[in-house]
Symmetry: C2
Subunit: 452 residues, 2 copies
């Protein structure tokens, strides 16, 4: 499959630009920032994620001899550029918001300060890494908020967009408060708890559903969850009730039943009644199949007695909004602030900081976007995490990041917490930034005049 660590995971234009930068000596210090231009109407807030993998990428960036040879063979690049690439390591600084931090439009979550060619090359993959985990953490947060106290599990590897998406969605959703994932490699790689039940194929391999349940129970007695919708959900629930005493005699306790299709509200109520009447009041009901924050909200509002949810496609593809309008833009070069003025995509220049204020109840009340060094009231969200290409300290653990996200959700203004459509959050642009923008425009205008 593809090599996820290759520096060739980039757009050709990055290499073209590096060639031109080198040819013309444009290797001075550049400052790029990664931010989301505007929030989609489907998202009142976003959750920063992916920084760990972004820093891994930067720390390990290098071209192998074989990659250099392949580039040389393409005939596109000068020997000077190839030699530069062969020696290239990322030697810049990175400032960032910690993973798990809530953020809004135009607030950078990552800043790269490095020689222009270095900072340019890494654009594509940095966006690729930060965009995806932020997208998924922000989606997962919604599910976490609508189902407090419920067990939420990522079931989405199969329809995630490739292997990396599957693994990183497990990570991002865990940060946002999921209990775990079905993806085994996510446990091995990140220590994320895994959950596993049984598939329809297991039931189908037996002509008789009860035999399937019993054989599975004997082999997998721990945390036993039986899938009951293969043929007739309520009939299967009655089979579970009939089977329970026989399993109990073997010391096996049924922990849950899983519903994966049909009208979940009606079925969960009927199954709950069948289980309770059969004395299985401790057996919980776990639902899966086409779930998202909308239908989970509806189920819980209708009093569906469901204790946990396995969420797949809508989580790992962020299906209602599978991409964010994000960018990694040059904000300063050779000591001068820069900006882009393209229609609908203009950017604020310079190195930025975000100051967040909290009310007496601890809830967020507003942010100020300003330039670095322009001290404002509140908590500064962006800090140095990498210097000269090396992390300045060990990263927070995944548990710490998860705890941070949970605390952030507690501090959200109530309309955002409730996912109210149209709920917004005040982000004020500081005078210093407005002034800097005017200075950049005036400098550019003078250049234009000078040229004529």
């Amino acid at each position: 499959m593809s090599d996820a660590t290759s520096p060739l995971l980039t757009d050709l234009y990055q290499l073209n630009m590096m060639q031109a930068y080198l040819d013309h000596g444009e290797t001075k210090t550049a400052v790029f920032e990664f931010f989301v231009r505007k929030l989609p109407t489907e998202r009142g807030f976003l959750v920063a994620a992916g920084l760990e993998q972004a820093l891994d990428f930067l720390e390990n960036l290098h071209f192998s001899a074989e990659e250099i040879e392949w580039l040389a063979h393409s005939g596109r690049f000068s020997r000077e550029l190839l030699d530069y690439l062969a020696k290239l390591r990322f030697t810049g600084d990175v400032h960032a918001m910690p993973e798990g931090t809530v953020f809004f439009a135009n607030e950078p979550i990552l800043r790269v300060t490095a020689a222009l060619p270095e900072a340019q090359l890494v654009e594509t993959r940095l966006i690729n890494i930060l965009h995806f985990q932020t997208l998924i953490a922000s989606k997962a947060a919604r599910m976490r908020l609508v189902a407090p106290g419920k067990l939420l599990v990522d079931f989405g590897l199969r329809r995630a967009h490739g292997s990396e998406a599957g693994i990183m969605a497990a990570r991002a959703s865990y940060i946002a408060g999921f209990a775990g994932t079905a993806t085994v490699l996510a446990e091995k790689q990140f220590g994320i708890p895994t959950f596993g039940t049984m598939a329809h194929s297991f039931i189908q391999a037996y002509d008789d559903e009860t035999s399937a349940f019993e054989n599975f129970a004997r082999s997998r007695p721990q945390n036993l969850t039986l899938l009951i919708d293969t043929y007739d959900t309520e009939a299967a629930a009655r089979k579970v009730v009939a089977l329970a005493p026989r399993l109990k005699a073997l010391g096996i306790q049924i922990r849950a039943v899983r519903l994966d299709s049909g009208d979940m509200i009606t079925l969960s109520k009927n199954v709950r009644r069948i289980l309770d009447e059969g004395g299985l009041t401790d057996v919980t009901i776990f639902a899966s199949g086409g779930l998202d924050e909308e239908n989970i909200t509806e189920m819980l509002r209708s009093g569906a007695p469901i204790d946990g949810f396995g969420i797949g496609t809508s989580l790992t593809t962020s299906s209602d909004m599978p991409a964010l309008d994000c960018a990694y833009k040059l904000q300063e070069y050779a000591g001068l602030p820069r900006r882009k003025r393209s229609a609908g995509k203009a950017t604020w220049p310079g190195r930025k900081q975000v100051w967040r204020r909290y009310g007496p109840d601890g809830r967020m009340v507003g942010d100020i976007l300003s330039i670095e060094g322009d001290r404002k009231v509140g908590e500064p969200l962006i800090g140095l995490v990498m210097q000269g290409g090396r992390r300045i300290s060990s990263s927070p653990t995944l548990a710490e990041t998860r705890a941070r996200a949970a605390r952030e959700f507690e501090r959200l203004p109530e309309p955002l917490r409730r996912l109210e459509p149209g709920a917004s959050y005040p982000v004020q642009v500081a005078d210093a930034l407005v002034k800097l923008e005017a200075e950049v425009d005036s400098r550019l205008a003078q250049q234009e005049l000078a040229r004529r």
Copy 2:
């Protein structure tokens, strides 16, 4: 990052079920099929893709000693299962539709015939591989069909869901007729042509736009494309006209200008006029930025003089429909056909074949879905590609697969080719399959009765 070849890229329940299968001797031959349950209203047809990577996965499937040790350490599995996994290779057969084939709901594009535990383990990753490339090839086909004769280039790595999604989207869109991609690794890995222009950061690094154009042109004179929307698109087009003679004197020809923001219809017309009046009639216009098959259709209908399109997010995330309702289901076990009857997710049992008929004009007129061996009129679409865990012949080249897809698009019924909303295609279920379904249901009913 994640290891894309690990067999632990699977759901925990697959390992749980394998344990139970082994404990109870359920290791007889199973037949699973991968298919899409129903087509979303946004898609009149789908394009099969990903088979190559699916076969690579199956041929290379094995657990490393370190993975076995990790599983052992988890304490979840028996020594017997761990020994089985340590020796596991995929030894089954695979039947499939060739990549690039158009297909419809309920038509399997892949069938696995293998010992039940083997066939079960591979479910998650097979779906993950086939679903994504099929999703993207099907999306890319729409773009190809609305813009005949136009240069289409994948620009979507940065917002693809991870590295694998980026690379495989380049592959899938190339199969569907894109000219190439911006992703360098896709050229190295698959020989897909790459295209690269310049970014706004390049322009911004210079205070003066013309200097940026000129320096870039001197360094990258081949296929020179200048990005003209950083500040003022029409002003930049006039700068291009002014610069052209100076570049021409250096032997450098401008091939294209790129628009990346604003009202593309108006801008492209104005830029075309500026270029033409400046004598640059050979310079083409390339557009990018938030494009999809809808707005490309609108631009072309409005006579926008755009020659090529760089398409990113909407392509590599299939943004209007980021997942397909696909499944990998047990259709036969131990010589007996099987089916699932879950509400809304019932499946047709048995090993299937799809027969496709064509009209006198060579266009597809209808498919018949039947069981293997039930010979029908038309072309059978599913054939053996892997036997005993090995490919039976070398795979088609990517060029051959691309040519197949192009031929398939030629043969689509006109309403599907025109992407008419609601256009459908007749897929008839053969009597033999209906009869087989009744037999399965009757067998299951008898088992139920016998049990009471």
